[in-house]
């Protein structure tokens, strides 16, 4: 878990992850807001369905990939949080018909 230092201020923004309502702050990346909201697992891997969360938070490792407003494979660490974002985790490989 992560805690926000008391001096850190900023407008509160609401969004959802896997249908659950969460709150972040203006200035957060989507990944930061998810971590602050207690989300540790962002996706599971294509080869083995193993759980992953962000590793690098600088656009390199691609372990924070999520679906944002219907677009898959977005790097949560590189996207600023916006009000009303609808975020879903990516699980294993896509199956035909999904």
């Amino acid at each position: 878990m992560f805690k926000r230092l008391s001096e850190a201020s900023g407008r509160v923004l609401s969004f959802t992850f896997d249908g659950q309502p969460l709150e972040g702050r203006e200035g957060d990346s989507l990944a930061a807001a998810l971590l602050a909201g207690g989300v540790g697992v962002f996706r599971t891997t294509v080869p083995s369905d193993a759980s992953r969360g962000p590793y690098c938070l600088m656009g390199v490792c691609f372990d924070c990939l999520v679906e944002v407003d219907g677009v898959a494979n977005r790097q949560a660490c590189m996207i600023p949080l916006r009000e009303g974002m609808c975020v879903t985790p990516q699980r294993r490989a896509r199956q035909l018909g999904e």
């Binding site: 878990m1 992560f2 805690k3 926000r4 230092l5 001096e7 850190a8 201020s9 900023g10 702050r25 200035g27 957060d28 990346s29 930061a32 807001a33 971590l35 602050a36 540790g40 697992v41 891997t45 294509v46 080869p47 083995s48 193993a50 759980s51 992953r52 969360g53 962000p54 590793y55 690098c56 938070l57 600088m58 656009g59 390199v60 490792c61 691609f62 372990d63 990939l65 677009v71 494979n73 790097q75 660490c77 590189m78 600023p80």
Partner: protein, 468 residues
């Protein structure tokens, strides 16, 4: 600086296009603007500063004491950039740069191709891979990652937090955690102990530099406030009942276990080469830093005409040198584009070139002190080397022996290392070194993993909508 809202606002051509808004890119933009060049700076982040000054313009941490004076010194660069006569497109990705200096730039789901007479790639650094068993588990992240959360969001890891590895950033972040009132539970140091014979010749330059003054007091502060375990080897991270379990040996003793909610790994940074490589710039193996860097002259000119490299993407040398290299690359661009002659360029750049040389000498000690051991660079047999395709080191070794795959490009056919979402960013170095060791040759003798555009995913719709 004119902040552009979308790719539609880009001019069709620029004298100079700069990629990356860290210290190198910012200082290049400011310098080039002074010579009346039309300048575009494109950056993936939403605000200037790069990784080192990430979030500086809008950091929620108003007190200077947590992040420290070196971080806040970046504010002057950002202010200079704000006043410069340049175009700035933030939150945008240069996903292709060809040898005719066409840049393909995407932002908010739309891409455009523009042209530039000169290009400076200031793509910065990334954390070096740290392939130990369990490094892919949620809760394990890079020290640099945890620092990003602190810089831009004022977030700090809670509970038992263990820092593992070696390098200046590890000490800096430990000090920042202490200043924020959440010291690490333990620091497991993997730094090797180089012989005095290797260190002594490097000491005078180091001791005369700011690195010594700042570094030594930083280490002292951290040592006073946290538990330090030295000579750590045989690391492994497992999932325990309440969080993560880190197994390790210290000083060759029996295995010990430490439980924690967060494990933060770090063993230095390496140049971020994907765009540089895909543009065709030649790279060379740097044995002292155990990584590749682009071949460039004093002005950053790469092997590709009109494309220069600057900052840590051109070889790790820290923020101050990055800013100097950015200026030099911009001076050279001004010279190539006829704004100044060679003599004026040389005069204007002389001080920076001298300072970079002096700084490089001082840093040699850091390179020796914090060069990760071969065991940690290549990882344990069962560690996932390729995080994306989940390939272990022992599997890579087995395939290299059985198939005579001579390098990472052939290995792709067998194991897909480098073909997953990260496109080799987090495995190329390790794969390269493992193959070299199996073949008994220097990593520099192996053709490095090829990088092809688009260097980050774009949708087919975005690609199809390109107006070419």
């Amino acid at each position: 600086m004119r902040r552009l809202g979308a790719v539609d606002e880009l001019a069709a051509t620029y004298d100079l296009a700069i990629v990356g808004a860290g210290p190198a890119g910012l200082s290049a933009a400011v310098t080039a603007g002074q010579f009346g060049l039309s300048v575009l700076l494109v950056d993936e982040k939403t605000a200037p500063g790069g990784q080192i000054y990430h979030g500086i313009a809008a950091s929620p941490l108003k007190r200077g004491s947590i992040l420290g004076p070196d971080y806040w010194s970046g504010a002057a660069l950002v202010e200079g950039f704000a006043a410069a006569d340049v175009d700035y497109l933030a939150g945008a990705m240069v996903w292709q740069l060809d040898q005719d200096r066409h840049l393909y730039i995407g932002a908010d789901g739309k891409s455009r191709r523009i042209a530039a007479q000169a290009v400076i790639l200031a793509t910065g650094a990334q954390e070096r891979p740290f392939p130990i068993e369990g490094w892919t588990r949620p809760g394990v992240m890079g020290v640099g990652a945890a620092q990003m959360l602190l810089k831009s969001s004022g977030l700090i890891a809670e509970g038992r937090v263990v820092l593992v590895g070696a390098g200046p950033l590890l000490w800096l972040f430990a000090a920042q955690m202490i200043a924020a009132g959440s010291p690490p539970s333990a620091i497991l140091s993997t730094a090797a102990t180089p012989s005095l014979g290797r260190l002594i010749p490097l000491l005078p330059s180091f001791l005369a530099s700011a690195y010594a003054r700042k570094g030594l007091s930083l280490v002292q502060r951290v040592r006073r406030a946290s538990r330090l375990v030295s000579s750590v080897t045989d690391l492994r991270i497992e999932t325990g009942e309440s969080g993560l379990k880190i197994a390790y040996r210290a000083g060759g003793q029996a295995e010990r276990i430490f439980e924690a909610e967060h494990v933060l790994l770090h063993q230095g940074v390496v140049p971020n080469l994907n765009l540089i490589r895909s543009a065709g710039c030649t790279i060379a193996w740097d044995d002292a830093q155990a990584c590749w860097h682009p071949i460039a002259d004093d002005w950053g000119a790469s092997s590709v005409e009109g494309i220069a490299v600057a900052g840590d993407g051109a070889g790790i040398q820290g923020a101050e040198t990055a800013a100097r290299r950015g200026r030099l690359a911009a001076l050279d661009a001004a010279c190539r584009l006829g704004r100044i002659d060679g003599a004026a360029r040389d005069r204007a750049g002389a001080e920076d070139i001298a300072a970079i040389g002096k700084d490089a000498k001082a840093r040699r000690l850091l390179d020796v002190l914090y060069r990760p051991t071969a065991a940690f660079r290549m990882g344990s047999p069962k560690a996932l080397v390729c995080r994306c395709e989940e390939v272990t080191g022992e599997r890579i070794r087995q395939v290299v022996r059985e198939t005579k795959a001579v390098g990472p490009n052939q290995l792709k056919t067998y194991l897909r290392c480098g073909m997953g979402p990260c496109q080799g960013r987090f495995c190329a170095l390790t794969v390269n070194e493992i193959i070299a060791e199996e073949r008994g040759i220097s990593p520099g003798k192996i053709e490095p993993m090829r990088v092809r555009p688009p260097i980050k995913p774009i949708t087919v719709a975005e690609f199809a909508a390109l107006d070419l």
